[in-house]
């Protein structure tokens, strides 16, 4: 009874006070209940893919949004995870439960190498150089078709589980754990340092921060999560092909990340959960299905024109405001801060976060 009351108090004081937290809670609840309420294999497949891409988009945000290393070749890590896991499962006959982890580790190593390559690059140079990396890898894969399966990739992989609900559960749990982990990382002191590096690397270095080490670390972490999503993806589809390294996929990560709102983690996740089912839903209509990419692009463009800092950031600013004194977040309906009691809409304009 005590525990129950404690849980209720927590719920009331920590979650119900902020609309964004309520939304997150509802979303988690929805994910948990989906297979019970609506076990349609098609819906489960779509949400499974959505979950996997959500990990991918969030991992891009960790690297690009927080650390300012705007990678245009994030598919490299996705593809590495997919291929590494697939090759191990196929050639050594290991269980996918093991190879997914190894795939993620290989992606991590590749991430380290990318980070090392890109240490001296900044801004647009970094973006464009990273764009090249997955394309080079595709060239290498095509040059060794016996090893990599060439254009077809590696097919007939074993699944983690056979039931749609099982696959969904794996993807959803992996997504929740990864996203929560990334959010914790981004919210920690480590994340603070990343912010500092993004905003002013020289100043960060001058304050005694070993920026090299931090940058390499974030490259590795981001690659790790992207690798997990790539590996899970390959075992879910049972194919790891060059489409996991395509430029389009890298751009997709950028679109999700910026559309949702960079440097938030939850922004890209929300963007994937909105955009991926949306485009798939368009495919349901015979007339629209051939136009879905067009509709997708127009939607992204129009929304960006009105919300250039990303949709989720925009929505959050509408439903919540930041206390000018203690920087705590409050529901938009409050007149004074829930923590320090300072007036929210008085003499101070609400503080705006740097873009």
């Amino acid at each position: 009874m005590y525990l129950l009351r404690r849980a209720w108090a927590n719920l009331k004081n920590e979650i119900l006070v902020l609309p964004s937290r309520v939304l997150v809670a509802l979303w988690v609840l929805g994910l948990a209940l989906l297979p019970v309420v609506w076990p349609d294999p098609y819906i489960l497949r779509i949400v499974t893919m959505t979950c996997l891409f959500a990990i991918f988009a969030a991992s891009w945000d960790l690297l690009a949004g927080f650390a300012g290393q705007v990678s245009f070749g994030h598919a490299l890590n996705f593809g590495t995870g997919a291929y590494a896991s697939a090759l191990l499962a196929q050639n050594l006959g290991l269980s996918p439960w093991i190879t997914v982890w190894v795939g993620a580790l290989v992606a991590l190593v590749i991430g380290l190498a990318t980070g090392w390559l890109c240490l001296r690059l900044r801004g647009s140079y970094l973006s464009l150089a990273t764009l090249a990396l997955p394309i080079i890898v595709i060239g290498v894969l095509f040059a060794f078709p016996n090893f990599s399966g060439g254009e077809l990739g590696i097919s007939g992989l074993r699944r983690l589980t056979t039931s749609p609900v099982g696959n969904y559960a794996i993807a959803a749990i992996a997504m929740l754990v990864s996203v929560f982990a990334m959010w914790l990382i981004a919210d920690s002191k480590f994340g603070l340092v990343l912010h500092a590096i993004r905003d002013d690397e020289v100043a960060a270095r001058a304050s005694g921060i070993n920026t090299t080490r931090y940058k390499l670390a974030v490259f590795m972490l981001s690659a790790l999560f992207a690798g997990v999503s790539g590996a899970l993806y390959s075992h879910f589809l049972r194919v790891a092909g060059p489409s996991t390294l395509e430029v389009a996929l890298s751009f997709q990560a950028v679109i999700w990340g910026i559309f949702g709102g960079a440097a938030t983690i939850y922004g890209p996740v929300a963007a994937v959960f909105l955009l991926y089912p949306f485009t798939e839903w368009l495919g349901n209509f015979e007339r629209l299905s051939e136009l879905r990419l067009l509709i997708f692009a127009v939607t992204v463009l129009v929304i960006l024109l009105f919300m250039p800092r990303g949709m989720v950031s925009w929505v959050r600013d509408k439903i919540e405001s930041v206390c000018p004194r203690c920087k705590a977040r409050n529901g938009a309906w409050r007149r004074e801060c829930r923590l320090c009691g300072a007036g929210l809409h008085g003499a101070f304009a609400p503080a705006r976060r740097a873009p």
């Binding site: 705007v70 001296r120 647009s124 394309i135 290498v140 095509f142 692009a297 463009l301 800092r309």
Partner: protein, 289 residues
């Protein structure tokens, strides 16, 4: 063999230079990474096709109309889409990606997903050193050279060019000196897209026109620009020559590895970046934000 490499490399480089210099110009002046740059090149090819094959206009008229139309379209896109979000670099970036996708899909809806061919605008070939080069290809080299010379003249011999270079160098200072930075940005967008459109028009009778023809040159162009140094026109020219010739040499030296030419070109870019992070001629802007 040697003359093959020389000529093929020159044609490749000419087209790449037209694309890369325009891209570099926009980046230098307005700090826009314009992913849609080669999409305008694709649009110009389609526009040329529509005017020449469907509307049966004269070659010269069709070509010039196509270039003008695409340039006007780019200014419209800049005004309506890019300018309102200029302050948000990330938003500009995906706005250009979205634009490119929209163009691609529109062309696919309008012209279908298949490949279109445009009849040669000038026939025949001329023979030099035992190899025959169709005039159509000579035309590419000639037009590319003429356009590059015109661009050089515009940038280094006119007041507009001075304004563009000044803005590229230091936007604030140029504004303080009384230059209208917005108008300069518009002018450089126009010049840059016009160059891409010229490339699209001269290339269309030689290549195959399809909605996805912008992707491959996009990657190569980005490699060239990074290799030469972002914002540096000289660097873009040298980068274009380097990559153009590297591709030609790859095809001739390793016939069975011709598909690798893209990967090799990109690897060269990476190597150059490792040695000189700001590219060959890039300005080492230490702390630009």
């Amino acid at each position: 063999m040697l003359q093959d490499i020389l000529i093929t490399g020159l044609i490749n480089s000419g087209v790449y230079a037209l694309l890369a210099i325009g891209f570099s110009l926009i980046f230098g002046v307005a700090r826009i990474v314009n992913i849609a740059h080669t999409a305008f090149y694709m649009l110009a090819a389609y526009c040329f096709y529509a005017l020449l094959v469907t509307a049966k206009l004269d070659v010269l008229v069709a070509g010039i109309l196509a270039i003008v139309a695409i340039t006007a379209l780019s200014l419209l896109c800049y005004k309506i889409i890019i300018e309102p979000v200029r302050e948000h670099q990330a938003a500009v970036l995906i706005a250009t990606i979205a634009l490119a996708t929209i163009f691609q899909e529109l062309m696919q809806v309008g012209f279908g997903g298949h490949y279109l061919g445009i009849p040669s605008t000038i026939g025949g070939a001329f023979t030099i050193g035992g190899m025959s080069i169709p005039w159509q290809r000579v035309l590419i080299i000639v037009v590319a050279a003429a356009m590059l010379a015109a661009t050089w003249w515009l940038l280094y011999r006119t007041r507009l060019g001075l304004a563009i270079r000044a803005t590229a160098n230091d936007r604030e200072a140029a504004t303080l000196m009384g230059m209208n930075a917005d108008r300069v940005a518009m002018a450089s967008v126009a010049i840059s897209v016009a160059l891409a459109a010229v490339a699209g028009v001269v290339v269309a009778p030689v290549f195959v026109v399809d909605p996805r023809m912008w992707l491959a040159p996009l990657v190569t162009m980005l490699a060239i620009v990074v290799l030469g140094g972002l914002g540096s026109l000289k660097g873009s020219l040298i980068g274009a020559l380097t990559i153009g010739y590297v591709e030609a040499i790859t095809v001739f030296a390793v016939p069975a590895g011709a598909y690798l030419k893209g990967a090799i070109a990109l690897s060269i870019m990476i190597v150059v970046l490792l040695v000189r992070p700001e590219g060959l001629y890039g300005v080492a802007f230490e702390e630009e934000r």
